[in-house]
C-alpha cells in the first residue's frame, strides 16, 4: 500500500474523533449511497418495463422481412422463400399481403377504415380457418363485436360486375381479439392468406415474406447471410431495424432517467468537496510536515484524491447494495402491484442489468474523485513553511 493511501485511510478512520468532520463524512457517504441506490432502482425499474417490451416485440413481430426494393410485389417470391428456408434456425416463413379497406359490423351500422394483412408469422399464429380474422381490441370495441362474432371487411379494391364496379368484401368470424400496444406495427385486422388474396386481388406472389427465427438475437447475422444470397431487387430488414424508432425512444428514455437521477449523485459529491476541503484545512500542518519529510506536491494531491475515492467507494458500495437489494426484493416479492385489468402486468417489474449497475458505480466513483480534485489541488499548492509557521 502506498503511503498516500495509508494516510488517506487514517484520516478517514480518525475523523470519528472529530465530530464535525465525521458528520460531513457520514453525510457524504450516505448522500452518495442514496444517489447511487436511486439511480440503480430507477434503471432497474425502467429495464424491467423495457425488457418486457423488447421481449414482446421479439415474440410478436417477424424477425426477418424480405420486401421488394421497387414496386409492391416480390419479383420472385419462391426464390426468396427458398433462400430464407436455407438459413439455419428459421422456424416459419409467411407470405404477407396487405391492403386497406373498411371494417363494419354485419348490420353495417358502424364502419371504420382499417389496414388488413395476412396473419403475421411472429405473433398469434396458430392455424386458422380461411374466414377467421384476428381483430385489435380497439377496433373490436368500436365495432362492438366479441370473439366468434362476425365482421364485414370491404377492400378498397373493386371488381367489375354487370352493374358496374363493386367493392370486394368478405364476412369473417372473429377468431381472436388481440391486446395491442404501441410497439406493435401490425394492422387492425389479420386475415388468412386466402382471404387476403381475394381482398387484394393478388392471386399469386406476395408483398413481402416474413420469417420467425428460433433465436431473435441472430437476426442481424441471418439478414447479412440472406442479403448475400438474394439477387438485386430485394430488401432485407430485421425486427430491430423495423422497430428502430421505438428502440431509440427506449434508449433515450434510459439516458434521460440516468442523467436526471444522476444529479442526486452530483449534489452528494458537493458534500465530498466540503469534507475534503475541511480535512485539508485541519491537516494543513501535517501537509507542511510531510513536505518537510520529502513528500512531493503530487503525493499530497494523491492523498486527498484517494480520500475522495475511499469516500466514493464506500458510498457507491452501500448504494449499489441498497439499490440492487431493493430492486431484487421488489421484483421477487411483487412489492409494487399493478391492476391487471388496466395494465398487461400484475406488478411493476424490476430487471437488474450488471452493465447498468457498473455504469452507475463508475459514474458515482468518478464524480467522487472529481469532487476531490479542487481541494486536493489546493493541498498540493500549499506553502509548507507557512503551513508549519501558522500552525504552531
Amino acid at each position: 500500500m502506498r503511503f498516500e493511501t495509508s494516510i488517506a485511510l487514517r484520516y478517514l478512520a480518525a475523523s470519528r474523533r472529530r465530530a464535525h468532520v465525521a458528520l460531513i463524512a457520514t453525510i457524504s457517504i450516505v448522500g452518495l449511497a442514496v444517489g447511487v441506490a436511486a439511480l440503480v432502482v430507477s434503471l432497474a425499474l425502467l429495464s424491467g418495463f423495457q425488457d418486457r417490451i423488447r421481449r414482446q416485440m421479439a415474440e410478436r413481430t417477424a424477425h426477418l422481412t424480405v420486401s421488394p426494393e421497387r414496386g409492391v410485389l416480390l419479383p420472385d417470391p419462391e426464390a426468396a422463400r427458398r433462400a430464407l428456408a436455407a438459413l439455419p434456425g428459421v422456424r416459419s416463413i409467411v407470405p404477407i399481403l396487405e391492403g386497406r379497406g373498411w371494417a363494419s359490423d354485419v348490420d353495417g351500422t358502424s364502419t371504420y377504415p382499417v389496414r388488413f394483412r395476412t396473419r403475421a408469422g411472429g405473433g398469434s399464429g396458430e392455424a386458422a380457418a380461411p374466414d377467421d380474422a384476428s381483430l385489435a381490441r380497439p377496433l373490436a370495441s368500436r365495432l362492438r363485436v366479441a370473439e366468434d362474432g362476425l365482421v364485414r371487411l370491404t377492400s378498397s379494391r373493386t371488381r367489375l360486375s354487370p352493374v358496374g364496379p363493386i367493392p370486394v368484401s368478405a364476412v369473417l368470424r372473429v377468431a381472436q381479439i388481440r391486446r395491442s400496444s404501441a410497439f406493435e406495427n401490425t394492422a387492425e385486422i389479420e386475415v388468412s392468406e386466402e382471404t387476403a388474396r381475394i381482398l387484394t386481388g393478388v392471386p399469386g406472389g406476395a408483398h413481402s415474406l416474413e420469417a420467425v427465427l428460433d433465436d431473435p438475437e441472430r437476426a442481424e447475422a441471418a439478414a447479412r447471410q440472406l442479403a448475400a444470397k438474394l439477387p438485386a431487387g430485394y430488401r432485407v430488414a430485421t425486427w430491430r431495424e423495423r422497430n428502430a424508432p421505438l428502440a431509440f425512444a427506449l434508449r433515450l428514455e434510459k439516458v434521460v432517467i440516468f442523467v436526471t437521477v444522476a444529479l442526486v449523485i452530483v449534489v452528494a459529491a458537493l458534500n465530498i468537496v466540503s469534507n475534503i476541503a475541511l480535512t485539508v484545512v485541519e491537516k494543513k500542518r501535517d501537509l507542511g510536515v510531510l513536505t518537510a519529510m520529502g513528500a512531493a506536491p503530487g503525493s499530497l494531491l494523491r492523498i486527498y484524491l484517494t480520500l475522495g475515492a475511499i469516500i466514493g467507494s464506500l458510498g457507491t458500495a452501500a448504494g449499489v447494495a441498497l439499490g440492487v437489494g431493493i430492486s431484487a426484493a421488489a421484483d421477487r416479492f411483487h412489492l409494487v402491484p399493478l391492476p391487471a385489468d388496466v395494465y398487461m402486468l400484475t406488478h411493476v417489474p424490476f430487471a437488474i442489468h450488471p452493465g447498468e449497475v457498473a455504469a452507475c458505480a463508475a459514474f458515482a466513483l468518478a464524480t467522487a474523485v472529481a469532487a476531490a480534485v479542487l481541494p486536493a489541488r489546493a493541498a498540493s499548492r500549499l506553502a509548507p513553511g507557512e503551513a508549519i509557521r501558522l500552525s504552531r
Binding site: G288, G294, A296, E386, R389, R392
Partner: protein
C-alpha cells in the same frame, strides 16, 4: 567542505496586513560536521531561516546552497527527494502525525521514499531503539510524553540518515530535565553520524555547548565560536 552557504538572503511576509520584513541580506557559511546553534529574540526570523535552508520556504532575494546544491533551483520533485535524503527537520512542537504510531511516524520518510512498509517499519524500529523508545514503538503519538514525542520526532528526522539536521527549538516546549536529555541525544547522534546540525534555541546554556553560535538580530547575523570550539 561547506554544508550550508547562505548569500544575501532576504525574506518578507506579505499577508492581509502590511508586509513584514523578517530579515534582509543575511550571508553566512556553516562547515560540514558543525553542531551550530542559532539564537536571537523572537520574531527575528530564526525559524524562517531554517525553512529557507531546508527548502520549505523560498527567499525573496538571495540564494542558499546545501552541500553545494541550490535547493531552491531544483524542480519540485527533485527538491522533495533532496529533502527526503539529505535534510531532517525537528520542530518545537514535534509535529508528529497524530493518526499514526511512533513507529509509523518514524517509518514515514522511508515510505515517502518508496521503501516497502515492512522494511520501513523494521528500520524505524532500529532507530527508535537508538533513541530509547523501543518499548513505545506501537504507541500512538498522543499517548507519549512531551520528551518522548520529541525523541520520536528526532528519530523521524534521522530516519533517512540525512547529512543535515535542522532543529527548531526542539527543547523549547520541554521541562529542564527533558530538554537536557533531548539535547544530549542530539549531541550524541550528531557525533555518531557525522552530520551537520543547526539548532535554534533560546537556551544560552545549551547554545554554549555547541561548536558554533550564530546570533540573529534585526540587523543581521553574527557568528561566534561555541564553547566546544573554544575548548
Amino acid at each position: 567542505m561547506i554544508a550550508i552557504k547562505a548569500d544575501n538572503l532576504s525574506r518578507t511576509y506579505t499577508g492581509e496586513g502590511a508586509p513584514v520584513k523578517v530579515f534582509s541580506h543575511l550571508s553566512f557559511e556553516v562547515p560540514a560536521g558543525t553542531f551550530a546553534a542559532v539564537m536571537g529574540p523572537s520574531g527575528v526570523g530564526k525559524s524562517t531561516l531554517l525553512h529557507l535552508i531546508g527548502g520549505i520556504d523560498r527567499p525573496d532575494e538571495g540564494r542558499v546552497e546545501v552541500f553545494g546544491q541550490a535547493i531552491d533551483e531544483l524542480p519540485p520533485r527533485l527538491r522533495a527527494r533532496f529533502r527526503n535524503e539529505k535534510i531532517g527537520f525537528v520542530f518545537q512542537f514535534h509535529h508528529l502525525l497524530p493518526e499514526f504510531t511512533a513507529e509509523e511516524n518514524v517509518a514515514m520518510p522511508h515510505r515517502i521514499a518508496g521503501v516497502p512498509k515492512s522494511e520501513a517499519l523494521r528500520m524505524a524500529g532500529e532507530i527508535l531503539a537508538r533513541v530509547g523508545l523501543a518499548d513505545r514503538r506501537a504507541h500512538g503519538a498522543r499517548a507519549l510524553s512531551g520528551g518522548e514525542q520529541q525523541r520520536v520526532a528526532i528519530a523521524r528526522a534521522l530516519a533517512r540518515g540525512p547529512g543535515l539536521l535542522l532543529a527548531d527549538e526542539p527543547t523549547g516546549n520541554l521541562d529542564a530535565a527533558s530538554a537536557q536529555a533531548v539535547f544530549d541525544l542530539l549531541r550524541e547522534l550528531h557525533a555518531e553520524r557525522g552530520m551537520t546540525t543547526i539548532l535554534v534555541t533560546h537556551n544560552p546554556d545549551l547554545a554554549r555547548r555547541c561548536d558554533r553560535l550564530f546570533t540573529m538580530t534585526r540587523e543581521g547575523i553574527a557568528a561566534a565560536q561555541g564553547l566546544s570550539e573554544r575548548g
